[in-house]
């Protein structure tokens, strides 16, 4: 049965000791590793605060101090999310983290970053204040100039709100989950060879596409 095949495939690809290991290679001892998990933590705060805002609807935070508090939590967790994610991305770039068959891990992370920009952009458009008015007024020209604005209308609050609270968060969360599973499956990339060290016999060449 296909469900059996799927279960067996999932367990063989990511056995529990790989999915949630209790140890890591000795080189995983740098502050740079904190920013990946900080990105996920910020994403959780964003989703939870966004759900609280969503429960009361898009007008709530304009008229309630409690709503404004949760809107501020939502805003600052987004700022923290992007800060952590950008540091994480730069760190992974400087580590050449795609080596050794980890190309898809980089690709899913990079796409998650770009989709998150879209999620934040639609969030700014959904604020229902002067900021969202101005961003829509400016943003429409870029999108219209390449024909996208005809389908993705930044002045259509209903469309932007749906993208912001459903479609793009789902995409970001799905990409982040995929990214994390790939990290767990392939492990954390090891350091480049030390000075004067020769590559291990049969090791993948750095110039080989991952």
């Amino acid at each position: 049965m296909w469900t059996t095949w799927l279960r067996e495939r999932a367990v063989s690809s990511l056995p529990p000791e790989k999915l949630l290991p209790d140890r890591q290679p000795s080189y995983v001892s740098s502050w740079i590793y904190v920013f990946g998990v900080a990105t996920i933590a910020a994403l959780i705060v964003i989703v939870v605060s966004g759900m609280i805002l969503g429960l009361k609807g898009p007008e709530w935070w304009h008229v309630s101090s409690v709503g404004h508090f949760f809107n501020s939590i939502h805003l600052w967790s987004v700022e923290l999310f992007f800060f952590a994610m950008v540091v994480h991305l730069w760190g992974k770039f400087f580590m050449g983290a795609w080596r050794g068959g980890r190309g898809r891990t980089w690709v899913t992370g990079a796409i998650a970053f770009l989709v998150a920009i879209g999620a934040a952009f639609t969030g700014y458009l959904s604020q229902q204040n002067f900021d969202s008015q101005w961003i829509a007024s400016e943003g429409k020209d870029g999108l219209n100039s390449v024909g996208v604005g005809a389908f993705f209308n930044v002045a259509d609050f209903g469309q932007m709100y749906t993208f912001h609270v459903v479609l793009l968060p789902l995409a970001v969360v799905a990409l982040v989950v995929w990214h994390v599973l790939l990290v767990r499956r392939h492990g954390v990339v090891p350091p480049y060879p030390a000075k004067a060290a020769k590559p291990a016999p049969g090791a993948a060449s750095e110039g080989t596409p991952p």
Binding site: I44, R99, Y124, Q128, N129, A150, P191
Partner: protein
């Protein structure tokens, strides 16, 4: 550290790590990170809150700057506004689209959000005003008149508008040959100042529920009042535009590269800047995604050498 031997000096990234391991509790790490991030978000919230500048309405615009409102409305009526000559997706205007070389992507989807500025922003809202026989006559005269006469009335009105005196918040124009445009514009200003035009532009086809603000927003965007307010908040394109936020908040700083191109030549003065920058950013984004597969770029980190700072403990151990 669980000793399996010394860490290898040249580990193969495609095989499991043969060196020593350290204890690492991923769940604990996530819980601690969640606590720290939540605390940081609460502290930042308590210290800085979040901005919420009320939106500009057509009513607030018409009350605060009636002359600007009327000047904008006139350009919408006589079809000389930026929006009236925008091209797709709002209307058909020859040679109005932005192009990337020979590529006219703007025209590809066609006019999918049709807007006739004269009809949608002026004539139809005026036709909704009840019990105003003078306005009815003016509208009928305007719509019957040939385009050349309509243009002459509009031109005379536009020319006289800067000379208008403000009387009880309403511009009083010197006597002139404005035809029916005078009473039409007076009625439109009254409608706008009462808040009726906000509703009229939103209540498209008299539907009860509305979520699409395209028409009122595009009308607002045509006026100087809206732009002046944005300039005061450092939101103009030349002020790094929409990556900023009202007040002193960080805004969408992650859009810095997108906004950066608008500050420099050849984009600064290019009529195709939006399209060129959009395509440029799409290419750069694709390159960013594909770094692991681009020769030269994928080996760059090794030459930069910053990895030695990140893994300094490891190198100290293997290099002695």
């Amino acid at each position: 550290m669980s000793a399996v031997g010394a860490p290898p000096a040249a580990p193969d990234p495609s095989v499991p790590w043969p060196g020593p391991f350290v204890r690492y509790d991923l769940v604990k790490e996530l819980v601690v990170a969640l606590g720290v991030v939540t605390l940081l978000a609460v502290v930042l919230t308590v210290l800085f809150s979040s901005p919420d500048d009320p939106p500009t309405t057509i009513q607030s615009w018409a009350q605060a700057d009636p002359a600007d409102f009327l000047a904008t409305a006139m350009t919408e009526l006589n079809g000389t506004s930026e929006l009236a000559e925008y091209g797709p997706p709002y209307n058909h205007t020859p040679d109005a689209t932005q192009k990337v070389g020979p590529l006219d992507l703007q025209s590809t989807p066609g006019v999918r959000i049709p807007i006739d500025t004269a009809k949608d922003f002026v004539l139809e809202p005026l036709a909704e005003i009840p019990a105003n026989p003078r306005l009815r006559l003016a509208l009928a005269a305007y719509e019957r008149a040939p385009p050349t006469l309509q243009e002459a009335w509009a031109g005379a009105y536009e020319e006289a508008l800067p000379k208008a005196r403000m009387v009880h918040g309403v511009p009083a124009l010197p006597a002139g040959r404005y035809g029916p445009v005078g009473p039409m514009m007076a009625a439109l200003l009254g409608l706008a100042q009462s808040g009726g035009l906000d509703g009229a532009l939103l209540a498209n086809n008299h539907r009860f529920y509305q979520t699409n603000y395209t028409k009122p927003l595009l009308f607002l965007s045509g006026g100087g009042y809206f732009e002046e307010r944005a300039e005061g908040q450092h939101l103009l394109g030349t002020q790094w535009g929409m990556m900023n936020e009202t007040g002193s908040y960080p805004g969408q700083v992650w859009l810095w590269l997108y906004t950066f191109w608008y500050q420099i030549e050849p984009f600064l003065e290019s009529p195709n800047a939006d399209a060129l920058i959009f395509v440029l950013m799409s290419v750069l984004s694709l390159a960013f995604i594909c770094i692991p597969f681009i020769p030269g770029l994928r080996t760059l980190p090794r030459h930069l050498g910053l990895y030695r700072v990140i893994w300094r403990d490891h190198y100290r151990e293997v290099e002695g």
